[in-house]
Structure formats: C-alpha cells, structure tokens
Amino acid sequence: MKLTKNLIFRNRSIQIGGAITLFMILLALFAPLIAPYPPIGMNIPSMLKSPSADHLFGTDEFGRDVLSRVIFGARISLRVGLSVAITTGILGIGVGLFAGYFRRLDNPIMRFLDAMMAIPSLLLALAIVSIVGPSEGTAVAALTITYTPRTARVIRGAVLSIKEQYYVESATALGAGTLRIMIQHILVNCIGPVIVQQSFIFAYAVLAEAMLSFLGVGPPPPAPSWGNIISEARGSMRIAPWIMFFPGIAISITVLGINMLGDGLRDVLDPKSRVQGR
C-alpha cells in the first residue's frame, strides 16, 4: 500500500494531470470569489469588446465578461463530468460483477451491452435528452446510460480473471458466502481498473457535455457551460472569435489534465491493461 502511494505521488503524469484537475475543481468551487464580473446579466455598453486589461478574455454580444463565464462554466462541466463518472462507476460495478460472477447471466448481459455500444454514444445521449427534455440532470442520466456498458465490461473482465485465483477458491472452500466473496475478495481487487476507467469516463463526459450543449440539448442557458458558450458564440465567430476560443481552451486543458491523471493512474494501478490502450 505504501509502495503504491509512493508510486502515485512520484508519477509525473499524475502530478501534472492531478494539478490541472484540482485547479479546475477549485476554480469551479470558488467561482463567485475568483470571477471578476457576474456571469449573467446584460451590459450593452461593453458589447463584443476584444480581450483587454479590463476583460482578459473579452466580452460577448450581451457585454458579459467571457473570463467570468468561462470560470462559472467550469461548474456545470465538471459537475456533469464528476456525476457521470460516479454514477457509471456504481452501476458499472453492479452490472459487471453480476455478469462476471454468475455464468448464466453473463451471456444475456453482455449481448445487451454489445447492443448499447453499437449505438454511437453521442447519438444515444442525444436521443435520450431529446425525449426527456434538456437539463443538467437529463444530461447526466443520458451520459450515464451511454457510458455504463464501458465500465461494466472492464469490471466483468477483471472479475473473470480474479474469479480463477486461488484465494477465491480457498475462500469458497472455507464456506464464505457469495456476497462476501463478491465484495471482499473480488470487488476489492478490481478497484484499480475501476478508478482508471472512471477517470477516462470523467474526461469523456466533460467532452460529451460540451458536445450536447453545442448541439443545443445540454443544460440550458443563461447559466454558462463551456459548450453552450461556444454554441452561442458561433454566430459571431467571424467578428468576435475570442468568445468561442477561450472556453475551447478550458475544455481542452481540463480534459487533457484528467486524461493525464488517468494515464498515470493506469501505469501505477493497472499496468497490464496498458497494451490495450483503453
């Protein structure tokens, strides 16, 4: 355990990726204290100003400060990303454990997941949101449904290999119950792959939320999210490119940070899976 801890803190991509992720989370948490202007509300005199000392990232067509909107935008983007990572984690563990542990359930569950993965994730999320109606909650739910099969597959794979280990066999021989074996012996040992997978899902979800918002079905305006700032900025892209430029940078840096964190964690926690990419 101590060895793992050392490895985690010495890993370069965990250091950099972790720092970026932490920075963005702090930015989101303390947005009202950090942002120089309010993120919503019109201010016509300062419409479409290019970046300057007063407005580092310029202003948009309602005169709102883009920097402040980007800082506040971190809230929705990260909230959606984190929620999706957590919910898919829980659901994926459940489904994956059952599929991996009970042989009879394995085939039907896996076929079902295969089918879900045959629908492009963005399309599935788009369809769900369109029917239930756009909101932050629906975005989380839609992305959870879309990404759970990925986590479930990873868990199932881990369970299948762990199940064959001698210590599981000896636990069974000692008369340990199914639930006890599933949780104490199997789940504990596939925590590594789960953490790695969930960090990548966090990154995917931040990107996917931006795409949904860009398509106009994400969390609705005026509350800023990185995706809907870019979406709104499309019309004035030619005269005021800075409005769409900075939120895109924010998305890229955040997702890069989370991906680096995930890569680092994989190197430490789950070195075997490196070959498969992800």
Binding site: A115, M116, P241, F245
Partner: protein
Amino acid sequence: MLAYTFRRLIWMMWVLTIVSILSFLLVHLAPGDVARVIGGIKASEETIQKIREQLELDKPIPLQFIYFLKKLFTGELQSLYARRSVFEIILYKLPVTASVALGGLVVALLIGFPLGLIAAVKQGSWVDRIGVMTATLGVSIPTFWLGMNLILLFAVQLKWLPSGGFVRITEDFGGWIRSIIMPSFSLGFVQAALLARMTRSCLLEVLKEDYITTARAKGLRESFVLLRHALRNAMITIVTVVGLIFGLLLGGAVVTEQVFTLPGVGRMVVEAVSRRDYPTVQGVIIFIAFAYAAVNLIVDLLYAFLDPRIRYD
C-alpha cells in the same frame, strides 16, 4: 471459418434486435402522452390524433412493436414531417456522411499510424515524447471547437477552403475534395490520436517478443525486422481498432456536420431531434447501429482470417 462466420452473424442479429427494441422503447421514455410531447403544446387535437394514428399509439405496446418491426423491414418507417420513408432520406444523405467518415478514416490512418510507429521505434526519445503528448492532446480537444478554429483559419483568414456546404463527387471532384478536407481533418484528428496510442503500445508489446530478438540475432536489417516481423503481428490488433474507429467516426459526424453545415445523416438526426420527429431518430439509430455492426463483422472475420486462434474461442 464457416462456423465462426455463422456465429458472428447470429451475434449481429442479436445486437440489431436489441437495438431495435431499445430504439422502439426510447419513444416511450417521454413523460406523459407521447403524441402530445411530439406535437408540442400548441398542437391542435386533430394534429395529435394524426400523430397518434401514424405511430399507432392507441394500440397496446407489444402490438406497436410488431407494427414498428414490420415498417422497419418493409422500409416504410415514415418521417413525421418529410412525408417520405426514413430510409429513403438516409440513403439520399448518406454520401455526405460517408465522404466525411471515410475522409476522417484516411486522416486518422495517415497521421496516427506513422506517428505511433515512429514513437514505438524511437521509444523514450524526444520524438516519442512529442508523439505521446500530441496523442494525449488530440483526444482532449473537442472536435467541434477544432472545426471552428479550422474555419476561422482556412476559410475566413486565408480563404483557401469553403467554410461549409457539400459538393457531390458526381458534380465536381475538386469541389468535393475541398468541401471535405476540413471536416475530415477535424473528425479524424481525434481518431488519429487514438490510433497513434494504440499502434505505439501494440508495437512495443510485439517488439518485446522472443522472435524479434531471434530475428535481430540472425543479423536481419532492423527495417526488415520491423516491417516483416513486428508490424505484421501488430497489424492484427490495429485492424480491430480501425473497426472501432469507424463507429466513432459515424457518431462524430453528428457534431462535425453541424459545424460545417453539411447536409448529412448527422445533421438530419439533430434536426429530427429538435422537431421531435421520433421515427426519423429511430431509423437513424438503427441504421447506424447496423452499419457499425456490419463493419465490425467484417473486421472480426478479417481478424479471424489473419489469426486462426481467434476462431476457436
């Protein structure tokens, strides 16, 4: 091989059956009266009745599903607004999406494969580090944002390429190429990054094998060892990735077509979503899942052909 092909075909049928059940049920996720949700608040009683009839919402759900399947197989799934069959519209729009997806695949292969190859051969060098960095960055940039930046640079500033729109290949070949360069690049860049990572890690794994050491010990030229021994074996995994990438490209086309205002299947589905034209949404989902499953079937068969061990799993 025949038995394997058969097994995979059955698998594909299963997947498609489940996909059609899922997309059928999707409509019933709507809160309240489905017909009213589709028609909107302002719709008259008459319109709502018409929608109800067209979707056969007054029948019990299992019966509705049978009708849905029948429409699906006879190709009679009607769009709520266009008065044409959904598959007819898809086929008309398909060349746009296919052009962009294929363009994206070409970009992914042209950039991703060499990048991964060089990074693996020069493992640990600065080339490798830059390659790995680029690949990580590539999977982190939102495609639509990349596309918008490309438009600003190449269409607005330099005026080299059109900022959007599609020219059919049958009308003007040069125009077709020009109209898909930017969309293909913005779509393919992410996949290039994925492919580069994959190629690198696969090749590194293969290079550790004993037969590579043997080949080197025999005094073979390094380029020969790489191309004939290592790459051939790494190829198997890479082929699978290409199948996967194709699926991602089909999905990514939804956003890319929106950015470059291309009249393809992706734009069609976004429009259908905003008009609550559910039969169209269902048709597109099933069609894309079919395309994805078909590509993966071909990839799997190719894979089994290249590596006989697979067939006996």
